[in-house]
Symmetry: C2
Subunit: 256 residues, 2 copies
């Protein structure tokens, strides 16, 4: 049996530190192919490029590792990897990240990192999105490399349920070591936006989106609690958006 085939993508772009760290760790587990955006794609959610063209260019940025930069979104990268770059060789694992910044709670919806992983799940490939809750471009990943390797190893060994991708978040480096891994649900929290209104040199108005993260969740079984308490959070995610509990209520309310 050959080494497992591991597809790596991200949303911070192919030159970010996080993907370099991830490629290195995955190299210890299998044969790596990288298809990642040629520019930062943070906040792209599950965007895909339908009304425009896509570029895909081989690059030697990871020396020995086969790598391609793509002009599209993280979801585009996984689609192009599967249907064009890898063709009939289905990856044994898709990993995305390591994101510079948190993707806990509601951020899973806005996250380009997780859209690559969810795209893996849609295509029936075990997939994991990794994020470090540290936004700095030169973030310290040294405290999480063993955890990343453990989690990827577990997924390679045990697989994942059909249609499930993992959203893994790591606390930033602290004096104390990480306490362990918690399997969590997505916390009930949201961003409370504020729009910073400014004027350009031509006197025209523009805005920057800003705001604060607000956590409404008092539970201890969610990803926000895990990160706040120096645990790794692992949320299994799926892509059925149906609010199944609401179906019978609507049938009653609407009398149909």
């Amino acid at each position: 049996m050959g080494k497992p085939l591991i597809l790596v993508s991200n949303d911070d772009g192919i030159t970010s530190k996080g993907i370099r760290v991830l490629v290195e760790i995955m190299g210890e587990l299998g044969d790596v192919v990288v298809v990642a955006p040629d520019s930062p794609q943070s906040g792209m959610g599950h965007a895909i490029t339908v009304g425009n063209t896509l570029r895909l260019t081989e690059t030697d940025i990871f020396s020995e590792v086969k790598a391609y930069k793509c002009s599209g979104t993280p979801a585009d990268c996984v689609k192009l990897a599967k249907h064009h770059v890898l063709k009939d060789k289905k990856p044994d694992l898709v990993v995305s990240g390591i994101n510079h910044g948190s993707n806990t709670s509601i951020s899973v919806l806005y996250s380009g990192t997780m859209s690559a992983a969810i795209e893996g799940a849609i295509e029936d490939m075990p997939a994991v999105g990794f994020s470090l809750c540290d936004y700095s471009a030169d973030a310290d990943f040294s405290h999480i490399t063993e955890h990343v390797k453990f989690i990827a190893g577990q997924v390679l060994k045990n697989g994942l349920q059909k249609g499930v991708a993992l959203n893994v978040n790591f606390p930033p480096k602290q004096n104390e070591s990480i306490k362990g891994i918690k399997i969590c649900r997505q916390a009930r929290a949201k961003w409370q936006e504020e729009f910073d209104q400014r004027y350009d040199p031509h006197g025209q108005r523009y805005f920057w989106m800003a705001g604060n993260f607000v956590n409404f969740d008092k539970g201890e079984d969610n990803d926000e609690w895990a990160i706040a308490n120096n645990y790794v959070s692992v949320v299994p995610c799926q892509f059925d958006m149906t609010a199944h509990h609401a179906i019978s209520i609507l049938n009653n309310d609407w009398e149909i």
Copy 2:
């Protein structure tokens, strides 16, 4: 009691026919404010603009109706509407569309139309995304206006459960009238992509994403079945992506 306040957005852009039809119908139900993208945003998923600036400009495109065009994504539009345009006046209803094209099944993830509605649900406002399964720019909406009005009216009257937004799809105009409304779950289906490889005038390679929709779902309680059988499909959607059933399985498999 005053008329309800209705926020209208979309993803095809503020000049599309679908939003014009929607603004007209909503005008019969309440006071309308429009905040919609200044250009097409199809396939934008739940993208938001975090690394760039946003423009917001008032426009008289809908004559009597207060309307703003925005340089951002559908999700940006709803955020800007809530936190800047409407400030403390919370809309009684958020509607998005009417999209030119289907947003059934897995397309809910890629859909800008639905991201505006989901954003409404995140902000605790009853929200509906409307899509017509007809991609043409001059699509005929005449067979669905009464249904759009009925559904919006029901939501205004009964509200929606906290955290729920509706994904409403309509069959294209046919000889036979629409048979009725079905409350559905999201069908198990996906896009089978193909990438059409071409070369630009400078000899550089590029791709167009193309492909076919593949339905794996044999059930009759899903949105694909409803549309195929000339019913309106209404899928209640939520934004907890957690695969709750997988939590105990992971705890067992990983022995943590």
